[in-house]
Symmetry: C2
Subunit: 195 residues, 2 copies
């Protein structure tokens, strides 16, 4: 029935497709197997449980978001303040665009991310590291006031939750969202700038 041999990657792709079509509530292992033209027993040969399969899907999804984001962030500006502003702006824009273009799919991945919090913690850790790197640079160059980069990066992340946490996705379509984000970014940049 199929030419290729069945592997984990194929199963994850098929699961993503079913999730896209039916949403997180209605996707069953049986649907995934059906799409692949195999029995559901075969899926269980590659993943120990439905939960593990869903976790693999959200992990791959977040890995792709990470790669896209890393690519988009390259060229922000020369000085740390500009780069931090660029990083945050890019981060918000990327999430807002995804949420807007396909709200259903975005909600689906939000459910999966909530289900597998350790995977999303890793994603948060990555974003935090990006911020911390710029903060540390800025402290070294004298653009930012000295302090603990880890702590400052965390504060920047927390202060901007409203603009990057998927929990707030419903607010992102509001017309003031952009202005609010800029207000908070400016406040933060003033907060960490050297005096």
């Amino acid at each position: 029935m199929r030419g290729e041999p069945l592997d984990a990657e194929m199963i994850v792709s098929a699961t993503e497709e079913v999730l896209r079509r039916h949403g997180p509530e209605k996707t069953t292992v049986l649907d995934v197997a059906r799409l692949l033209g195999v029995s559901h027993g075969s899926v269980y040969r590659h993943f120990p449980s439905k939960a593990a399969l869903r976790e693999a899907v959200i992990r791959r999804w977040l890995d792709r978001v990470r790669d896209d984001f890393a690519a988009a962030v390259q060229d922000s500006g020369p000085t740390p303040p500009d780069r931090l502003r660029g990083l945050l702006t890019t981060m918000f824009a990327a999430k807002w665009a995804k949420a807007k273009e396909d709200p259903e799919l975005f909600a689906t991945f939000r459910v999966l991310a909530a289900e597998h919090s350790s995977v999303s913690s890793a994603h948060v850790a990555f974003l935090l590291a990006q911020i911390r790197a710029i903060v540390a640079d800025g402290m070294a160059s004298g653009d930012f006031a000295r302090g603990e980069p880890e702590v400052i990066a965390r504060a920047v992340f927390d202060a901007t939750s409203r603009f990057h946490d998927p929990m707030h996705a419903a607010e992102w379509s509001s017309p003031e969202a952009q202005a609010k984000a800029e207000g908070v970014i400016s406040l933060i940049l003033d907060g960490i700038r050297a005096r």
Copy 2:
């Protein structure tokens, strides 16, 4: 069966009681009428719909929160930076305490607040006004950098969403919550301080 005449206030209190006992999903107008010893038709004499009744409940609840909060905020400190820190700290502490002491009831009011967004917008407007007053004072006294108090207050409010928005209540019980809040408050205070 009852000594007192039936009025809107009694009905709101009874509704609050039923909500406390059964949660928002399971409270019916019939339950409320039963608790009061009247027919449900009598309730409809005072409120045009179940939604209007629920709105009255959330409005009274938020009015009480506002009064408690206004009382608690009186004595924060002499200078605007101290007062702003005090205001935010008090605001977070008040909400965190409520959420911790009775999470079910807190969740109930969260549902009602989401249902009647205009009522909660009014509450947000009150909190914003409190922040704006201190920000404006600080600008006048020279403690804070000059700017548009309205805009700055909004940025302060948005940057601290994570610590006051009931949406994030689940995170408030985490041990790092306090430290995160302090990190963001410090960042903000540095951001608005005069240079």
